[in-house]
């Protein structure tokens, strides 16, 4: 998958930042997406027109169990999030609902990917090519069952 990346190089991007509590009453996913990241980045909606990836630091998605968080990002057009680490409930929600593919990256990869770089992310083979800088990176393979859920398109399509 080829697209550009939005860089939020900070730790602890929490679920209230991704989608504030007051919007959890909204059931329409496109409507929810209008408020994604609004406290952090007022240009987020515009940027998602040509960016399908996010790169962030440690503990992305910490806090609430609200699945509205990966949903709001997914319906904004985000397909993959690269982060040094993910909070566990966010990670599960992203995968189980097939909203986002969360990929853990190492510090070197994190340091050498910049805002607006164009990336070619090969989920099947755990590779990232930075088309802007011509660098390539290897990512950690997904645990077995997680990979199966991603390939199936969510936990309800999984054939165990």
């Amino acid at each position: 998958m080829i697209s550009k990346v939005i860089a939020y190089k900070k730790n602890n991007i929490d679920t209230d930042t991704i989608i504030p509590g007051k919007y959890l009453k909204i059931h329409e996913y496109d409507e929810l997406a209008k408020h994604a990241m609004e406290g952090l980045d007022s240009s987020f909606r515009i940027r998602t027109k040509d960016c399908s990836f996010i790169i962030a630091g440690n503990n992305f998605g910490c806090g609430s169990s609200r699945e509205h968080a990966p949903i709001a990002l997914s319906y904004s057009g985000i397909k993959i999030i690269l982060a040094l680490s993910f909070a566990r409930i966010f990670y599960r929600n992203a995968i189980d609902g097939a909203f986002i593919i969360p990929i853990e990256i190492d510090q070197n990869t994190y340091n050498s990917i910049n805002d607006n770089d164009e990336l070619d992310i090969d989920v099947q083979n755990n590779k990232i090519a930075n088309l802007t800088t011509s660098r390539t990176y290897i990512t950690k393979p997904f645990p077995n069952l997680v990979k199966k859920i991603i390939d199936a398109g969510g936990i309800f399509k999984l054939d165990v």
Partner: protein, 470 residues
């Protein structure tokens, strides 16, 4: 082979395994109005039913108004969400404690109060603070809506075993140092991802001496350290708490005998990680930043980002941003910070003991004229117990608002939220940007620290108000 408490509960719930993943049986499933509607839609779409409606318990908490319950809900989207849960529960045959129920309340407060939470069980709920129930020796963790749907349909959940993390809390506990101060101190020490990938078991003399309500406060905030769950081995206090509740099982005493035999980490059981926390010298804790590890002693100052970050550029940036959002200057004494609002409530700190302790501070005093303070009991049962003790009169006389139960200003989904720039002393669990309202500034504290701040209009070292006590 020796085992930890976590391993024992885990092993006794495995249905099947696949590589490193296990399918676990779920003993109790709590649901509420915010994270369940899409799950029920999914069931209907695929013509599935709820596998064990008898093990599924619902209440409304996140969205409910905390003012006069006899009036209709004005916020139409809230009303729809609440009605949707009631309709779903009716359709699928699930017990619900609705708006008018005497058992309504924050799901993590009513579960134990009703005797639904039991030692050795697995408990899930579409809410991250499900970790609260770990105080009873239950393996309890939060899940998202897809998993809620999966549990509704199958009463099971696919998951991987976490690492085990033992936190031993020892030392002498001054009565002004509450469970809230201790868990804030722990998160400050290990960080917001210090518990990631682990289930924490809290042990040590301090934990043994804790009341059940204090244990719940500790386990509740385990998620704020990134842990999957918090656990405390059950003992006589646990068994006493759950005796003679509405849903206490008929064979309770024989269950207690079994629990006494099994539900503890074996001597010499090995943990993946272990730390000691000594609380003898800690002071009341106040958060100053925008995550729950950014915490200072009440006797201290707002830290200088350079000192705080210890040369970690990420932390430096975080601290600078946090201070900017919070409108605070480094070097300011914590006790010089003025506040506009006080919120005593949430699944962390809105139980009877919290209100009793806060009332002791408040009694005979008045809320500062520039502070608006509300008390939101954790459940209707807590509210009634508090009123039986006359606590509502103490609070009302001091100009606190005495509200109906719910999550309220912890996450600002209903009408209780901060306005931009407003500063709040809050007994809740998260100080994230915008958590209590867009632009709102949250300082996490204990109920007695919040009560004291309400009276003075700024933070005070609550120990000074309790000098006769200790």
């Amino acid at each position: 082979m020796t085992q930890t408490l976590y391993e024992k509960i885990w092993d006794s719930h495995i249905i099947t395994k696949q590589n490193k993943s296990s399918l676990l049986y779920v003993d109790r499933h709590f649901i509420h109005e915010v994270t369940s509607p899409q799950a029920f839609d999914g069931l209907r779409l695929n013509r599935r039913h709820v596998r064990r409606p008898d093990l599924t318990i619902a209440t409304v908490d996140h969205n409910v108004p905390t003012v006069d319950r006899s009036l209709p809900i004005l916020d139409q989207t809230s009303k729809i969400q609440i009605n949707t849960l009631e309709n779903n529960c009716r359709e699928f045959g699930i017990t619900i404690f609705g708006m008018q129920s005497e058992y309504q309340g924050i799901v993590h407060v009513i579960g134990p109060q009703l005797g639904i939470t039991l030692p050795g069980t697995t408990i899930v709920c579409g809410d991250s603070h499900t970790s609260t129930h770990g105080a009873f020796g239950a393996l309890a963790f939060g899940i998202g809506t897809s998993d809620v749907e999966h549990v509704l349909a199958t009463q099971t959940i696919w998951t991987q075993k976490s690492k085990s993390f033992k936190i031993i809390i020892n030392g002498k506990q001054n009565s002004a140092i509450t469970a809230k101060d201790i868990i804030l101190f722990i998160i400050r020490t290990i960080g917001t991802s210090g518990g990631t990938g682990t289930v924490i078991e809290y042990t040590g003399d301090v934990v043994k001496n804790f009341s059940m309500e204090q244990r719940m406060t500790i386990c509740n905030m385990s998620i704020e350290a990134g842990a999957r769950a918090g656990l405390i081995a059950p003992d006589e206090k646990t068994f006493d708490y759950l005796r003679n509740k509405k849903y206490t099982p008929a064979n309770y005493e024989s269950l207690v005998d079994l629990w006494k035999l099994n539900l503890h980490s074996d001597k010499n059981a090995t943990f993946d990680k272990e730390i000691n926390i000594n609380i003898s010298r800690i002071t009341p804790q106040v958060s100053w930043g925008t995550n729950p590890s950014m915490v200072s002693d009440v006797t201290s100052i707002i830290p200088y980002p350079k000192q705080y970050s210890k040369n970690d550029p990420n932390k430096l940036e975080e601290a600078k941003n946090a201070l900017k959002y919070m409108g605070l200057k480094p070097g300011t004494p914590i006790t010089d910070i003025s506040i506009d609002r006080v919120f005593i409530g949430s699944c962390t700190n809105a139980r009877l003991e919290d209100l009793i302790d806060a009332a002791k501070i408040v009694e005979g005093n008045k809320v500062s004229s520039h502070v608006k303070a509300i008390i939101v009991p954790g459940s209707q049962m807590v509210k009634k117990q508090a009123e039986n003790l006359g606590l509502h009169k103490i609070f009302k006389r001091a100009n606190f608002e005495w509200r109906e139960s719910g999550c309220s200003m912890c996450l600002g989904m209903n009408d209780d939220f901060l306005l931009p720039g407003e500063r709040c002393a809050s007994t809740s669990n998260r100080n994230f940007e915008g958590r209590q309202g867009t632009g709102g500034r949250t300082h996490l504290v204990s109920p007695i620290m919040a009560a004291a701040a309400a009276l003075y209009g700024h933070f005070v070292d609550v120990r000074e108000l309790m000098s006769n006590d200790n």
